[in-house]
């Protein structure tokens, strides 16, 4: 028999941990599936046992994660670590790869709390060894306590870039330069959103404190950077860029880039849930109501996977989705749900007030996509360049799915995660049409590659319900 759970939660970040704990405390039989070996998600990765001798390297926020993980452990929700979800069907069947073993489970309701991914932005040389996303660098720091030996160059835009710089400094890593690619005009455009953001004074203060910390450490911060290029034959040798109207060059063996985070929408799109193009966050996000309910019956979304809001917002959204699940499954009535939700909703609203300001302040330059050089690779898996995409559009290709047929773009092992957002924007830009109209890749399972032998061992017989 395939195991059946009342509520399945996907993801053990703040959204998933809060959702699972809240729902279990309300008496639901909950199973949480997460592809990582320990709870925490992105921000609180390895929170139960950080390998760093001094947890202060990662900052105070980390402790909130420890509390969340503890509450989750105590809640009675069944926890399935190292368990990736590679299939979701409208009938709420989940295909799992549970410690390497493929199996199916079904659920009465599902909360998808799969979080965000770093926004992939192609630039010349971005596929060279020695070029990494800042998040990948951070994972090394958080999970292995590993720090790169020589000085690193950080480039891009977004609050995480500052956070990472500070974390590196605290861990004793030398930062050769921080190349700030935030368009200088963003500040003025963000200004109207500042008053609303001020209510989230803590978040802003943290950002300023990070800036001060980086400044005091004497890190060379270059503003208004454009035309970033990674140079090298077999691996990164130097970073080139323009600043102040001049061409510059820095020798380096490690370049960490970051352009903000976007929802990981392959999972939600695989269910045919409608997605909107968020023109402020420049990404797709699933359409959902105030409880996270989507158009797919019984599926809710919570956390950064539903639109970037940060760790606290994710936690609150997880709680709201859990309250709604408890109502839908008959544990509480609507009145009780609403009563319990009221303080959470207020906290969430407050947390969200800072977003418009941050979103505009750190919005990546539109030229990163519109001015992509023709010979820059966009799809890393199939090695499709911006020029080939423009050429396909010239031949009548009108959208990402047709582009697959024209060029194989998006058909490699990453399932279009790395090129999807760029492709939608690039086609829109080339045709002079809004991204919303261009659409996104249709997503087919497996959501992540699955071993042929693992698939072969799948017989549809799961364990008894947890």
């Amino acid at each position: 028999m395939t195991a059946r759970h009342e509520l399945a939660v996907i993801g053990a970040g703040p959204a998933g941990l809060a959702a699972a704990a809240t729902a279990a405390e309300l008496g639901l039989k909950v199973a949480l599936f997460d592809d990582q070996p320990a709870p925490g998600g992105q921000i609180y990765r390895g929170v139960e046992r950080t390998p760093l001798a001094d947890p202060a390297v990662l900052g105070d926020d980390y402790r909130r994660g420890a509390d969340l993980a503890e509450a989750f452990r105590a809640s009675g929700a069944a926890y399935h670590p190292s368990c990736g979800v590679w299939l979701l069907t409208p009938e709420r069947e989940l295909g799992l790869l549970d410690n390497g073993q493929a199996r199916f489970v079904t659920a009465g309701r599902v909360i998808i709390a799969g979080g965000a991914m770093e926004r992939p932005v192609p630039f010349p040389g971005w596929t060279l060894p020695g070029v990494m996303t800042a998040g990948a660098g951070q994972i090394l720091l958080k999970s292995a306590g590993m720090v790169p030996g020589k000085g690193v160059v950080l480039a891009g835009t977004g609050p995480l870039l500052l956070l990472l710089a500070a974390q590196y400094l605290r861990a004793g890593v030398q930062i050769a330069a921080l190349l700030d690619m935030t368009p200088p005009s963003n500040a003025l455009r963000a200004l109207p959103h500042l008053p609303a953001a001020l209510s989230a004074f803590g978040t802003l203060a943290k950002g300023l404190a990070l800036k001060r910390e980086i400044h005091r450490a004497g890190v060379r911060v270059v503003k208004g950077v454009t035309s970033l290029r990674a140079l090298g034959e077999a691996r990164l040798e130097a970073v080139a860029y323009e600043a102040g109207g001049r061409e510059q060059r820095l020798d380096s063996e490690l370049l960490l880039v970051h352009f903000g985070v976007i929802p990981e929408s392959n999972t939600t799109r695989s269910l045919g849930i409608r997605h909107l193009w968020d023109s402020r966050q420049l990404c797709w996000r699933p359409v959902a109501d105030a409880w996270g309910n989507t158009g797919a019956e019984g599926f809710a979304v919570a956390g950064d996977g539903a639109g970037i809001g940060g760790a606290l917002a994710a936690e609150y959204a997880g709680r709201l989705a859990a309250l709604e699940a408890a109502r839908a499954l008959g544990r509480i009535d609507a009145a009780e749900r609403d009563r319990s939700a009221a303080p959470v909703r207020a906290a969430l609203a407050k947390e969200r007030r800072v977003r418009p300001f941050l979103d505009v302040l750190f919005q990546p330059a539109p030229e990163l996509i519109s001015q992509l050089a023709d010979d820059t690779v966009v799809c890393r898996c199939e090695e499709v360049t911006a020029g080939q995409i423009r050429e396909a559009v010239g031949q009548g290709c009108t959208g990402p799915n047709q582009l697959k047929s024209f060029t194989r773009c998006g058909m490699g092992p990453c399932q279009g995660r790395q090129c999807g957002t760029t492709v939608s924007q690039l086609i829109g830009h080339t045709l002079g049409r809004p991204v919303e109209e261009i659409g996104a890749y249709r997503i087919r399972p497996p959501l992540k590659p699955i071993g042929l032998t693992q698939l072969a061992a799948l017989d549809g017989e799961g364990e008894a319900a947890a």
Binding site: Q402, P446, I450, L452, T453, L455, A456, L458
Partner: protein, 381 residues
């Protein structure tokens, strides 16, 4: 605009028919509800196979093969065609005996392309094959091609000869009035003396509306593709006792199909995957190709295909009003036939006959007392 023919459906068959009509100087319009090559023609396994065809299809398949060998001369693009050979393997003596019997049948019909081979030649051709296999049936000059590239090449060639393509336009109904066929669409009406039904998995609707219902089902053959592997395989491999179509592409990825069906929703134009069936497919591959045990599957998909009750397509004129011609329901193996069927349709339109035997594909063949009606299964590829 004066039209000589309206073609419903921008799959390979619609594009091929339009191309051949244009070569015969007819003015054509192709109406496609989605985009050209969006369905079976753009997403199939690309098998270009005469091997193991139903005897009724052999003459067409052989004629099509001659066109494939020179495909660039027809459409100005090589369509990614590879003369890889196709092979059907036997895992035991019983299966081998069936294949040998099959080879005798094909020879008795006057064709030479199917050749039985023993274990030595089998492992020479397919070194990666598990050693328990005993022999096979080979068509050395069969191959495979790139389905979307092919369909687009036919479309582009037809367009260069003046064929107009109207995409995103659905034919809602057809009727004959004052010597013309009128195709009613969501973007207006189009009239021409000739109507060609190349609507693939939706072709039965037009046939039924013109008085020629056909026992028909829409199926969704599924495919899987692996991450890139070092080159280990040249021919396309099928299996006698198994549902399998297995090939390695130039880029190293391995494409696996063979007629496991997922869920089909013709009305919505969508498919869903059945992973329990794909697991069976994975088991077949793991048993036959030990090298695949370490491979990972990166993508799965399915396409919508019309399956006629006897597993053969409908090709030929309608039985009622004049001027309507059908070519649909290719029952999971119509890609290879594409180049030839376009020629048949154009010959029927311009000369009233074809030099290929199309009697077995008559649309009214089910109107006669039915013979055995097998359930759709088995071999795409």
């Amino acid at each position: 605009m004066n039209l000589d023919a309206v073609v419903v459906g921008g799959g390979l068959h619609g594009c091929s028919a339009a191309l051949q009509l244009a070569l015969r100087k007819l003015r054509c319009l192709v109406i496609e509800k989605d985009t050209v090559g969006r369905h079976a023609s753009g997403v199939n396994a690309g098998g270009v196979r005469r091997l193991d065809r139903d005897p009724a299809e052999i003459p067409l398949s052989v004629a099509a093969m001659e066109m494939w060998w020179a495909i660039a001369e027809l459409v100005g693009d090589d369509c990614g065609f590879r003369l890889s050979g196709q092979i059907k393997i036997a895992q035991n003596e019983t299966e081998l005996a069936v294949l040998e019997e099959r080879a005798r049948l094909v020879r008795s019909l006057g064709y030479e392309h199917e050749e039985p081979v023993g274990a030595n030649e089998l492992f020479r051709l397919v070194p990666a094959l598990s050693r328990h296999c005993v022999g096979g049936l080979v068509a050395r000059e069969d191959g495979f091609a790139q389905p979307y590239q092919t369909t687009k090449a036919f479309r582009d060639k037809a367009a260069s000869l003046g064929v107009r393509f109207l995409e995103g336009t659905r034919v809602l109904g057809v009727e004959r009035k004052a010597g013309d066929w009128i195709a009613e669409t969501d973007r207006g009406r189009f009239a021409a003396p000739v109507l060609v039904n190349c609507a693939g998995g939706w072709g039965d609707a037009i046939a039924a509306a013109t008085g020629d219902p056909v026992p028909f089902e829409v199926v969704a053959p599924m495919m899987m593709v692996s991450a890139r592997l070092p080159p280990f395989l040249t021919p396309v491999v099928g299996a006698a006792g198994r549902k399998l179509s297995f090939k390695q592409m130039d880029n190293g990825t391995v494409v696996i199909g063979g007629g496991h069906f997922g869920g089909a929703d013709a009305e919505a134009g969508t498919t869903s995957l059945d992973f329990r069936a794909l697991a069976e497919s994975a088991r077949t591959v793991a048993e036959l190709f030990p090298i695949m045990r370490g491979a990972s599957i990166v993508r799965c998909w399915a396409g919508l295909e019309g399956f006629v009750a006897d597993g053969l397509p409908v090709i030929g004129p309608g039985t009622g009003e004049p001027g309507i011609y059908h070519a649909f329901g290719f029952s999971t193996h119509g890609f290879q036939l594409g180049p030839a069927v376009g020629r048949i349709v154009a010959d029927l339109v311009t000369r009233g006959e074809s030099d290929l035997p199309i009697e077995p594909f008559r649309i009214d063949r089910f109107a006669k007392p039915p013979s055995a009606v097998p359930h759709p299964s088995a071999g795409s590829g």
